[in-house]
């Protein structure tokens, strides 16, 4: 028989995919949607919407440690990454092997020369390889390295990377989509030229993000039109999205204050899994990580099977990035860390956030144990796909 459904509805532990919007954000978006004006209009209706957009810009700039005019609103992180990589006009792109596809696929598409830098076993950038790439391409290059990895949560030393890159004459872009609200982010402090963020990763609306462009840096727009966003992003602003983005940014300071609590929950989760099965692997454990992200294996069980099995038990997690071709195969991130398909192909990502409770973690652990026990029992009977 199937396991009984959870006691009080499904559990959401996939915040790195998207974080549920906070009620205050939903309210702010609904209010903004009701406004008639176009922010470019001269009249009072337009001015009202414009004011709310600029208020939001200030809230977001405060969270990200940049000046408000440096923020260019986009339709999300992917568009921000595209604008940075395509708009900077550098012929060589230097990226890490663990970037999100929004950077990797774009770099492949637009670079005259592409250097993909390896990472170490914890997923941290190989600095010697960076230096070599900078020596070869420095003044022609844009370096794009993410702040925190979406699968493992590992945090790259972006300030150090930026210092070396800028000394060599390169521009630096950072995909910081997973960071705001989880760790403190300072665009100015990192010393970089461009930075991508997306509202929905910290409880804002989906479909709105921003590229921070350092004052004085000239880049080409990806979307041309009516001159909005200092000419860097044409099209009538997504006013409701921007207002929700701003509200989420204002509220993200509360999440930062709870980072220690969130990290303790993660550490307890990983410790409990190891008590159940000592062979559990936790990726990037030896490096600084986001407090909310666990990339853990269930030994011998394909990631896809775990994600479906947990979903059937009412627990939402993710198998890292997009699916592979039906084989037991590690994601490109875990392969870059040196994980074999046999180990990396058995990893899932558990990511928590503002609404996660300790009780939900316990229920996740219960579902994980039940799935694992069911499968190991079937292995003993010799009728399972998972062991094959």
């Amino acid at each position: 028989m199937s396991a009984a459904m959870s006691d009080s509805g499904p559990i959401y532990l996939d915040y790195n995919a998207t974080a549920p919007a906070k009620p205050e954000v939903v309210e702010a978006v609904a209010d903004a949607l009701a406004l008639a004006g176009n922010p470019s209009s001269v009249h009072g209706f337009g001015r009202d919407v414009r004011k709310r957009i600029e208020d939001a810009r200030e809230e977001i700039a405060a969270l990200l440690g940049c000046a408000p005019p440096e923020l260019v609103f986009t339709a999300g992180g992917t568009e921000a990454n595209n604008t940075a990589l395509r708009g900077a006009g550098r012929r060589a792109l230097i990226v890490s092997a663990v970037e999100h596809p929004a950077v990797l696929r774009t770099a492949e598409a637009c670079a005259d020369e592409l250097v993909v830098l390896p990472v170490d076993g914890d997923g941290l950038l190989d600095m010697a390889a960076l230096d070599a790439a900078l020596a070869a391409h420095g003044p022609d290059a844009l370096v794009s390295v993410m702040l925190a990895n979406n699968e493992t949560g590992v945090i790259q030393p972006v300030a150090e990377i930026a210092a070396r890159a800028r000394a060599a004459g390169a521009l630096v872009h950072c995909d910081a989509v997973q960071a705001p609200g989880r760790i403190r982010v300072s665009f100015a402090g990192l010393g970089i030229d461009m930075m991508s963020v997306a509202a929905h990763k910290f409880a804002g609306p989906k479909g709105i993000g921003a590229l921070v462009v350092r004052a004085g840096l000239e880049i080409a727009p990806l979307v041309t039109g009516g001159g909005q966003e200092r000419g860097l992003r044409g099209g009538t602003e997504n006013a409701a999205g921007i207002v929700g983005f701003g509200r989420a940014a204002a509220l993200a300071h509360d999440d930062l204050a709870r980072a220690g609590e969130i990290a303790a929950m993660r550490d307890r989760l990983e410790a409990r899994l190891r008590e159940t099965e000592p062979a559990v692997v936790v990726f990037s454990e030896g490096a600084a990580r986001l407090p909310n992200t666990s990339c853990v294996t269930m030994p011998g069980v394909q990631s896809e099977t775990q994600v479906m099995g947990l979903d059937l038990a009412g627990v939402a997690v993710s198998a890292g990035s997009a699916c592979s071709s039906g084989r037991v195969e590690a994601s490109h991130v875990l392969r870059a860390l040196g994980a074999s398909d046999a180990v990396g192909g058995c990893a899932i990502r558990v990511s928590t956030g503002w609404a996660t409770t300790g009780d939900e973690i316990e229920r996740f652990l219960g579902a994980w144990r039940a799935l694992y026990a069911g499968l190991t029992n079937r292995w003993k009977a010799g009728v399972s796909a998972a062991a094959g």
């Binding site: 028989m1 199937s2 396991a3 009984a4 069980v301 896809e304 099977t305 479906m308 099995g309 979903d311 059937l312 699916c323 592979s324 071709s325 039906g326 084989r327 069911g374 499968l375 079937r378 009728v383 399972s384 796909a385 998972a386 094959g388």
Partner: protein, 396 residues
């Protein structure tokens, strides 16, 4: 047609809402209705759709299963039913387990049935094991076949709708697989299934039936093989039963036993493909009478019909030699290595190697095997002595 509502009982102990049933959903009307009826009957149903090949292969072709549009359709049916639904990327497995074998089989001069391989190696192996791993109590499909509880365990029977029966494609099913499988449509006529789809408000109610082989666009299998095995379609000779060259052909993959069209040879009487000799790249042709066979040889038999026949024992069966073949009375005799010789009471037009010989006791499927060759009894050979060369081919 009855309009009474259906109630499908899967014969599984315990409350239905706690009985988890995985449904293999192709996006077609049959598996959609299977999922819908089980959900309506109160089972905890979830759907699995396999992406078997790249979407561009046959994106817009109606009636193909498992391409992009079909995955979309399956998802929308699951949305409508409010059931969980997962799409799995099986492209690599399907290529390895089914498509490569399909191409190699044609190159050996055979006419393969990839649907059997897909059931055997993909749906009833990997997908079935996955359903078990996910805690399912059964895996249901939209096949037209019946699983009937018998005194010695489940039996596999032909569908009530004989015209739709798909039991032929299920001959390689093992007893352990059948234990876990359910075929909710086996007792229904196709018209009833479409009517149920309409009653349930499924958008796929009017969708065309799947045709031919799902990964072969519009029957053009030769193009698929040429893409997989470039240069494999080498030209050769078309010969008669005595080996006299009558013409040339552009590759044996374009020919199957029994085929009449596409030979490009004018003669006093219509010519048929009698056999395909891959080693010599020869297509052997002759008159229709020379196609007749009353012996069928198979590889090791898959057996699901209770006690398998002992080596040397003769058993009366009904043999189906192609999916569209209604069945013919025959005597089955197996050898010690499990291979079988099926002696037909009346001669039948020859069946191509690579097809299956599937055996029944009335409606109950007993098992079957891949056809390795056909031949003629002494009586038949005496009646048509000029086809002696074919007996050698069959016995080779």
């Amino acid at each position: 047609m009855s309009s009474a509502s259906l109630d499908l009982d899967l014969g599984i102990a315990g409350p239905r809402r706690e009985t988890r049933v995985a449904v293999a959903m192709s996006g077609g009307v049959d598996s959609s209705v299977a999922a819908a009826l089980l959900a309506e009957a109160g089972y905890e149903v979830f759907g699995i759709t396999l992406r078997l090949y790249a979407e561009d292969a046959s994106r817009t072709r109606p009636g193909a299963c498992c391409a992009g549009q079909d995955i979309y359709d399956a998802r929308r049916v699951a949305d409508r039913l409010g059931i969980r639904h997962y799409v799995l990327d099986y492209e690599a497995r399907f290529r390895e387990a089914v498509i490569e074998d399909f191409a190699d089989s044609y190159l050996r001069g055979e006419t393969p049935i990839p649907c059997v391989r897909c059931n055997e190696r993909v749906k009833f192996r990997d997908l079935l094991a996955l359903a078990r791993d996910l805690g399912a109590d059964a895996l249901a499909t939209g096949h037209y076949a019946r699983r009937i509880a018998g005194p010695a365990g489940p039996e596999l029977h032909r569908a009530v709708d004989r015209g739709r029966d798909q039991s032929y494609f299920l001959f390689a099913t093992t007893p352990a697989q059948l234990e876990f499988l359910r075929f909710p449509l086996g007792a229904l006529a196709k018209e009833r299934v479409r009517a149920e789809a309409a009653r349930l408000g499924l958008a796929v109610a009017g969708k065309p039936d799947s045709q031919d082989i799902c990964f072969v666009p519009a029957g053009r299998y030769a193009g698929v093989i040429e893409r997989l095995r470039p240069g494999a379609a080498e030209p050769g000779a078309i010969v008669d039963e005595e080996g006299r060259v009558l013409g040339r052909h552009r590759g044996i993959i374009h020919f199957t036993v029994g085929q009449r069209r596409g030979l490009g040879i004018a003669g006093p009487a219509p010519l048929y493909v009698l056999s395909v000799d891959a080693a010599r790249r020869e297509v052997v042709v002759g008159p229709q009478a020379a196609l007749l066979r009353d012996r069928v040889f198979t590889g090791p038999l898959a057996w699901i019909g209770g006690d398998p026949p002992a080596p040397g024992e003769e058993r009366a069966v009904v043999a189906r030699l192609r999916s569209g073949h209604p069945g013919a009375p025959a005597l089955l005799r197996t050898s010690a290595d499990g291979a079988a010789e099926v002696a037909l009471e009346e001669p039948e037009p020859a069946t191509a190697p690579g097809q299956a010989c599937v055996l029944y006791d009335a409606d109950r499927m007993l098992g079957g095997g891949w056809i390795t060759g056909t031949g003629r009894s002494a009586t038949l050979a005496a009646a048509s002595p000029d086809a002696a060369r074919l007996d050698r081919v069959a016995a080779a």
